[in-house]
Symmetry: none
Amino acid sequence: MPSLSEQSGSLLSARAVLTGYQPLKEEIVRRQKTLPKRLLQIATFALASPDEVAFGTVSSIAKHVGVPPSAIIRFAQHFGFDGFVEMQRLFRDRMRERSSEYEERLQSLNHGVDPDDEAGKTLEGFFAAGRRSMENAFQSVDHEKFSSAASILADGKTIYLLARRRSFPIVSYMAYSFAKLGLRCELASSPMGTDGDLLRFAGPDDAALAVSFSPYASETVAQARVLRERGVPLVSLTDSPFSPIAAISNVWFEVVEADYGGFRPLSASMVLALALCVAVAERKQWN
Amino acid sequence: MPSLSEQSGSLLSARAVLTGYQPLKEEIVRRQKTLPKRLLQIATFALASPDEVAFGTVSSIAKHVGVPPSAIIRFAQHFGFDGFVEMQRLFRDRMRERSSEYEERLQSLNHGVDPDDEAGKTLEGFFAAGRRSMENAFQSVDHEKFSSAASILADGKTIYLLARRRSFPIVSYMAYSFAKLGLRCELASSPMGTDGDLLRFAGPDDAALAVSFSPYASETVAQARVLRERGVPLVSLTDSPFSPIAAISNVWFEVVEADYGGFRPLSASMVLALALCVAVAERKQWN
DNA sequence: TTGGTAGTAGAACAATAATTTCATCGACGT
DNA sequence: ACGTCGATGAAATTATTGTTCTACTACCAA
């Protein structure tokens, strides 16, 4: 890029590289006064109902605003985009990140990452995924389900914890927490092969919690089945309604962790698990 | 339409009028077992990442799932929609609702939840703590530290993981992740007392990572000391500059988890740990 | 008035996307 | 083994959508 266009970048629109919704919004406000009538109409609409822009087509938006379709294109180009679609991407990204206002503040803080800082990108990526996970879970966990899960577990004399592989850290933390809280629980994931024997002690007045994410460990599923056959109430934490343990649970939570490059942090599940531990303890105090 | 097809409406798909995302989701789950393989693939994807469906096009979704575009249309029609777009509308509506719903929910956080929903308060409290943790950590973790920690660990032939009690879930997840990534690591937290023997194999061309939060488990500190004396580079993850392991580490991170009623979620540490694993693997690929 | 500039509308075009069709495959019952 | 029927994928078809182009209008200065 020649320096000429960089210079004019702020005055005219010369292929400005607007990287997010928030910067675009600011740019629009800044240029508000210099905008022709039609473009101002569009700008107003875009800021007022960004959702429409995110989903709509050029002509649907044009109809909403009351301008011809070409005006929409010119609007996008006026702000340095190559076309409408490129601009629309910003609006879509915004929706993806949900929590509009809240997340916007963070976005604007966003440390521009040094492009050749490979590790830095990884770090930011995982934190972003962690945050998304948390927001998602926060929104998708139902209070009533949570409450009834807590009471099911609280009614159990002993709480059996089932998990393998990726899910193991979660139950190991739960085991720790339950112990601290003075509740009896058993970790049916021991490295020795004695789980089967352990579970033979479980009965209808106990309770179990299974954690399993795709690909579902067959041992966990098998153990959960055994417990259900013995009449043990089962709460589970999984990532899809299709999960084999969801089908056999009395109550189950769906927690979809966001991923970065295929790796999923367990952050949201961890929070939910801990909340569950404490809620169980609280409820048990009542009885 | 003849009455025949109406009758079969519940069995087959005959133009079922699904009015929202939630009903659709339930319908999908209900018919799960009767779905052909391809359609099940699509169903799984649709429920796992509804956002993609909301924004994507037939072919972009098809590519994601790994099926031909026509399968997507068939999927929509199978559930009584006229075509893909009609189904997509449900997914879009969901997103719209969600973002407004979300703000309401945040609002209700401030005004307090239903006062006699004890469990609900616990739940919200922990999610709030989880989010605060994440924000804190995100801002306090230094990129350079992270980068050098990654390279220290990447230079180790074997990575030794040290942690007890509350910190154990973190290293157990790291051990899992390292294994998946094809890196050699040893979990020096075994229930048997053989850790001392294990650590005797460690040397200067290995590396170690210790995780310890207040109150610092004495075993972890002791093990860390031993390793340092043997010249093993040490990275640590802790919650205070005064932590005994911070003093003896080559690089250390301070992660202060927010708490709710004295209980701390491990969410932020978990994310950092995972990011570290992946960064190490990336760096190792270079060498 | 005239010439120039900037803005606008709407048709025409090119690209992309959704849908349908059809030949093939494979499981299942006879 | 054979035939049937639903499921499947590739390609053809149809529709929608984004973008460009050109002619027209309003406005301003000379």
